[in-house]
Point group: C2
Chain length 415, copies 2
């Protein structure tokens, strides 16, 4: 594994011995003081080659063990990562792109990108000898933690607001997690989870506060690099809620450059719902020289996984995206729904609304000229449409009812 | 690719030139006359080694191209197969087994084992130059075909009875398939699909009648063999509806023996719902020297994907299972629901009821002594619980509602 050399506060830059501080910088607090895990990149650059990862013969994100803070001897027995990347040639031509790739991360164990974070976080919990894990989440992160804890035989305490879609709660309950529906806001659930985790020594996987999450989430970037045989695209587009997924992707690309396996980063663009644009607005403020936090806005969108009013990883998300030369874009719920249908109809990938938002964002970026024609673009799909199927069906035709006769069928066929 | 040498009727044994007959034996008809795809196994035995498949560097079922009737140049751009296999050590010890593996085939592109069949069938449709595909299905097969046709840009015509769960219909509609809800039985939908496919030259993927399906489904056996490094388990357990999945698995094991990569087959056991036991009963009749068909019984179970009253691949399923020394077992809906919860809670795999039935079957087989203690067993999970989440939740506790205060939480914790 890759030994971390330090944990560093993303805001004040203070460094701590690895694991000496588990969550956030004591000086900067849980929102500004998220930690970055650092490695000895010069040593890694000398040691790692383009073939290092394949040589592990690991068909999961543990193939990147050399760049992870936890060794695979602590891995929970579910396959996170190693998701397919689809080259969409016809669609690329139609959009005027030189290349378009869809990375289907709904094919993770609990059907979302969050499994990448959870794999590392639960591995770290084992490494640190913790007896239980906890999480506050709108849905996917909680489900993911519950699944991995089930596999590990580790108790799991989940704090949800009352608004998560039923299939997500169904998974949670089936995985045997202890679920508390907190009568309050997501923020209140988040704070209660943190408080309880400290008191009961649970390892808290809640977004942003645990630096292990971004370590797992960066593996999507490493996989993309490997699947494209070292030829990174010009642009990467992904949906943004709390900001941890995009922060992870950016860190992955940055580390590829640091260890000299890539010579540049793609420009990474985040997509938010118009009704929940807190990170996008924080980015705009940052480009105007204003502080990134507080970032707190109303959150109202059909894309529940990115319906976040008070994003927790906003500092990393904004800084890292700026470093890549990328940016943010917002899309309407109508665009999200239409994009979800287009992804299913054209690519055969059934995404949840929050995940389809990334594709809607690409269309916006093309319209605005922020992504030029002839670019090479990768779009991450971060969750399965089966998590929230009803949201994707608006406006689709119902099945045609016919009696069981060929003549009746022919009347309805337009051949 | 592996050039088929003949298509052979499973009942009368008549052989046809490959592709000369596409569906079923003209003499024996669509139910008895399902076709088997044959290869030159002696030539393959000389050519193939345990490393052949890895050397393809294909991370999908196309790594088994040498044993498939279609070359990967016809492959549709979705990753079927290459699903994870989980060694469940604690659970194995509790059950008194020497080894227990869960093969999670819910991590296929449309979240079911059916994607294996569809990958080959849509590849064959392309090879044969067909402009469209069709299917009658209770759900997963139709969804799978719709997804692959979407990716391939190929029209897709689906015939469903009115009873499929909403998430399955949601996927179908999102994938852009033309869906006919046939006002009649599954059999009537099935027959109408066959009739229309002939008339309009659609490639018909309906269960059993298209021999390409079993060619795809056999790859689950090949993967299991490869993931266990050539050490096949003693027993394999899988749920059975129409009988095609189990027929495919058996054919895969048989071919491994034919090409001398395995020295014996595992005993393959099929699991049916007590309320839909047509194949299990046909197997019993077969062991008593009676004819396998007609096999037609009532079908009433919460496990919709195996709620099949008139199984279409019953001849292959019964004969192939008998050849492995395996058998059939039936389980109640209560056992299915409990097993689904246990799989989620203990293994971290969220299965649809029809898939969880396989684990319920294993417990029955252990109770009955049909699988002895100290055996090595693999259980296939053939579809995702997200396809039908409500069915898996019976009896699970609702989340505990609390105000956002630590004191309230402590009152509800039993630490």
């Amino acid at each position: 594994m890759g030994e971390p050399t330090a944990f560093r506060c993303v805001s004040c830059g203070e460094t701590f011995d690895p694991w000496a501080v588990e969550y956030t910088c004591p000086s900067c607090g849980p929102l500004k003081g998220t930690l970055e895990v650092l490695y000895d990149y010069r040593a890694l650059a000398r040691r790692l080659t383009p073939k290092t990862f394949a040589e592990t013969q690991q068909h999961s994100l543990w193939r990147y063990e050399e760049l992870l803070p936890v060794g695979r001897e602590h891995a929970v027995n579910l396959r996170a990562g190693y998701t397919p990347l689809y080259a969409c040639r016809t669609l690329a031509i139609e959009l005027g792109l030189r290349g378009l790739w869809i990375k289907d991360d709904s094919l993770n164990p609990t059907a979302s990108y969050k499994d990448r974070a959870t794999a590392i976080t639960t591995g770290a919990a084992r490494k640190l000898g913790r007896a239980a894990c906890s999480c506050a989440s709108t849905g996917n992160a909680a489900t993911s933690l519950a699944g991995f804890c089930a596999s590990a035989g580790m108790p799991c305490f989940i704090f949800v607001p009352g608004t998560a879609p039923r299939p997500k709660l169904a998974q949670l309950k089936a995985f045997g997690a202890v679920v508390f529906a907190v009568d309050g806001t997501y923020d209140q659930a988040f704070d209660l989870c943190a408080e309880a985790s400290t008191k009961f020594d649970w390892f808290n996987r809640s977004a942003a506060v645990n630096p292990m999450n971004v370590e797992g989430k960066k593996t999507g970037a490493l996989e993309l690099w490997e699947q494209l045989r070292g030829e990174l695209p010009d642009y990467v587009v992904v949906s943004v809620g709390d900001g941890s997924v995009i922060a992870g992707l950016c860190k992955g690309f940055q580390e590829l450059v640091e260890i000299e396996l890539a010579d540049r980063m793609p420009a990474v663009f985040g997509v938010q719902a118009e009704g929940a644009p807190a990170v996008a607005h924080a980015f705009t403020r940052h480009t105007q020289g204003q502080p990134i936090v507080p970032a707190e806005e109303p959150a109202q969108t059909l894309a529940d996984s990115i319906s976040v009013g008070h994003p927790r990883d906003v500092v990393k998300a904004v800084r890292y995206v700026a470093d890549t030369g990328g940016g943010f874009v917002t899309v309407s719920d109508a665009e999200i729904a239409e994009s979800g249908q287009e992804l299913a109809r054209r690519v055969g990938v059934f995404a949840e609304p929050a995940a389809a938002a990334s594709y809607a964002g690409l269309l916006r970026l093309l319209d605005a000229g922020d992504v030029p024609p002839d670019a090479r673009v990768a779009v991450f799909i971060t969750g399965s449409g089966l998590k929230d199927p009803e949201s994707m069906l608006h406006g689709l035709p119902a099945p045609t009812k016919i009696p069981p006769e060929l003549e009746a069928l022919e009347e309805h066929l337009d051949l």
